[in-house]
Amino acid sequence: MAVYLDHAATTPMLPEAITAYTAALTIVGNPSSIHSQGQNAKRLLEEAREQVAASLGAEPIEVILTSGGTESINLAIKGLFWERNTAEVSRPRILVPRGEHHATVDVVEWLETFEHAVIDWLPVDADGRIVLSELSARLGPDVALVTLLIANNEVGTLQPVAEVAALAAGHGVPVHADAVSAYGHVPIDFRASGLAALSVSAHKIGGPLGIGALLVARTATLVPLIHGGGQQRQLRSGTQDAPAAIAFGVAARHPQPSLVRLRDRVIAGVQRMVPTAVLRGDAVNRLDNNAHFTFPGCQGDSLLFLLDSAGISVSTGSACQAGVSQPSHVLLAMGLSEDVARGALRITVGHTTTDADVDAFLAALPAAVARAQRAGFADRRVGE
């Protein structure tokens, strides 16, 4: 039986969500139809929206259902950028910390290439946390928006989102928060947050793949990406997926257990088994499911391969292209060298994780590290 310790990538669907999902697939009726069957579908959809809203301290009208985190982030950043740049007003700058998820990095770079945006990359400290004084110094009337993660998806560091929102509010600049990795792990009160928009995804909390949400504050406006039937405040046209929303709603109202104990077992165990391993990200202010280490002299993908061979699923944490792990831009932004960054491994626990899973991982780790150190960097250096 494989040991799954990659819950940050996706976590298994909750049995309750599966039951609700499959039952909902028999529903007849488009939520936008006027007849009774359409109204029934609409009722179930809106109940789900209320559950998602409640889990985030938002109002139902603020919940725009999307296809997932990436679409939400695209809508938030592009939509806010276009809204803030009109024929009359030019606000080209986007403030964004280094080490954001690619769903953000690639969007702002696209805006830079095609829409004349100016990206102001904000430095992060050695734990990956935004440097607030830098943000403060760069806010101004020509800033379209600020966007940042609530918690870094690789190293788990929590960002001071409330401080960021307060600083931005002083300049009337809207803030988008990417809460995809934080949802279910950190309390989120959208109403109190001062954020203009916030992105989440259902499959990170035990809901289905293919659905997420962008919270858009009542007071915020943005330009839609998708045009059509005008559903969801005209911000996201298209027939709404009631069954997926219903399953999302079930996951949203399901209590999320604290994972701190299991996470700390992983962290302490790694440090005991492999004393040279270095914990990355903030040791205290971090996601309750995230343990992230670099292993000196190892390639993370060798470790991943060896652990996978031993039946244990973990991640190098960084984005990959065609299956190729790149040295993490997050770790590079935190000041690590490429060689150190290549030795990264992210272990994330979740609602199905048991102590036996942690034991199996810790038992397999020392041999994998020893072997990966032997393989070293043979594939990169010119030898002989």
Partner: protein, 374 residues
């Protein structure tokens, strides 16, 4: 055995991996990411480097039912193969990048990493055969499918490398049979075109690719007497033995076709002359290796055949190792029984005894078969 199957995304390596599984080995599929720009889809029949190839390899691994990973060797590939290719051309030599890739990447960096990670062998879809002699020594031989034989590009492998290599297609009589087997196994790549040319030059335009990287300056073309007979747009674009594309305005004195005899990158000059001036009586190289057990006494001349290109016909020859005439180093000297022509330094000469690959050298010295005045 634990076997790493190198899977390019092509039909050969997919069938090779499947056969390794059926032979009872514990097999893991690995695709090598070699390009620094993996975000390109296949536009022709490329051998590596594209997302589509990686997906094809993964689909084959899925069908075989083996784990599959992508390993990034792009940095080393750039240094050892691509940069080497440019440097060799810049120096007026004609390198074989596939051979360099086998020597430095597939059966070196990849094999080392595989052994370090607990594998016993690397299997590839090359058409070649490994035989074991009575004493357990491994020998590299030509494939049964003579038309597809790739033993030439594997000639650089040493005994140590052969000991950990596996070529499951070696005994197959034809490529058609491999394609039929792939189709029967349900591989989507059964009819995928063969890869040709150089994988890192996507459109096959080697001249254009080189010109972009090393620059191209107009220079002169001279004949054997030193007279200027034409101009060119960059000496690196020429290879020895080339006849086409010279665009010489003036016909040769005897009216016969002229061939590139020499490329001089330092002076950006190309020398042309009659075909017979290409004929070589001897080729030699100091960088040589034995594919398996070395001859007991290599200073005794060996009757053999020599092959100087992947798809050239072998030529009967005598090979011997002896001390260089003026320098303190050994070289493998090969004397063909009939003159070889169209050979450049930088090319690899592979020496066969029957079907067996005895060894190889990178040619660094040639001796003309005729008196020439250049």
């Amino acid at each position: 055995m634990k076997v790493l199957a190198a899977m390019s995304g092509g039909v050969d390596s997919a069938v090779a991996a499947a056969r390794a599984v059926e032979a009872g080995h514990e097999v893991v599929g690995v695709h090598l990411a070699l390009s620094r720009m993996p975000g390109t889809l296949r536009t022709g029949s490329r051998g590596c480097c594209t997302i589509e190839d990686s997906m094809d390899a993964q689909r084959a691994a899925n069908i075989i039912g083996i784990p599959y990973y992508v390993w990034d060797f792009s940095e080393r590939f750039k240094l050892d193969v691509v940069d080497d290719f440019i440097a060799e051309y810049t120096a007026g030599r004609t390198p074989n990048p596939c051979m360099r890739c086998n020597e430095r990447i597939k059966f070196a960096a990849l094999l080392e990493k595989a052994l370090d990670l607990g594998f016993d062998a690397v299997a590839t879809g090359h058409y070649a055969t490994i035989l074991t002699d009575a004493d357990g020594n491994r020998e590299l031989h030509r494939a049964a499918a003579w038309a597809k034989d790739q033993s030439y590009v594997l000639g650089v492998l040493t005994a140590q490398q052969l000991a950990h290599s596996m070529f499951p297609l070696g005994a197959t009589p034809s490529k058609a049979e491999v394609r039929a087997e792939a189709a029967a196994r349900g591989f989507s790549v059964a009819n995928k075109p063969d890869s040709h040319d150089i994988c890192f030059i996507p459109d096959g335009d080697t001249r254009g690719w080189l010109a972009e990287r090393v620059g191209a300056e107009r220079g002169v073309i001279r004949d054997l007497d030193g007279a200027v007979v034409g101009t060119h747009e960059g000496a690196h674009a020429f290879t020895i033995g080339q006849r086409k594309g010279l665009s010489l305005g003036v016909p040769g004195a005897d009216g016969r076709p002229r061939f590139v005899l020499e490329v001089k990158p330092s002076s950006n000059e190309v020398v042309v002359g009659p075909r017979e001036a290409l004929d070589l009586a001897e080729i030699a190289g100091s960088r040589f290796s034995w594919a398996g057990l070395a001859p007991e006494d290599a200073s005794i001349p060996i009757d053999c055949e020599v092959q100087i290109r992947a798809h050239a016909d072998p030529v009967a020859a005598i090979a011997v190792v002896r001390r260089h005439a003026t320098e303190d180093r050994l070289e493998l000297v090969i004397r063909p029984t009939v003159p070889l022509n169209g050979v450049s330094t930088g090319q690899t000469a592979v020496v066969y005894v029957g079907t067996r690959v005895l060894g190889q050298c990178t040619i660094d010295r040639t001796v003309s078969a005729v008196e020439v005045s250049a």
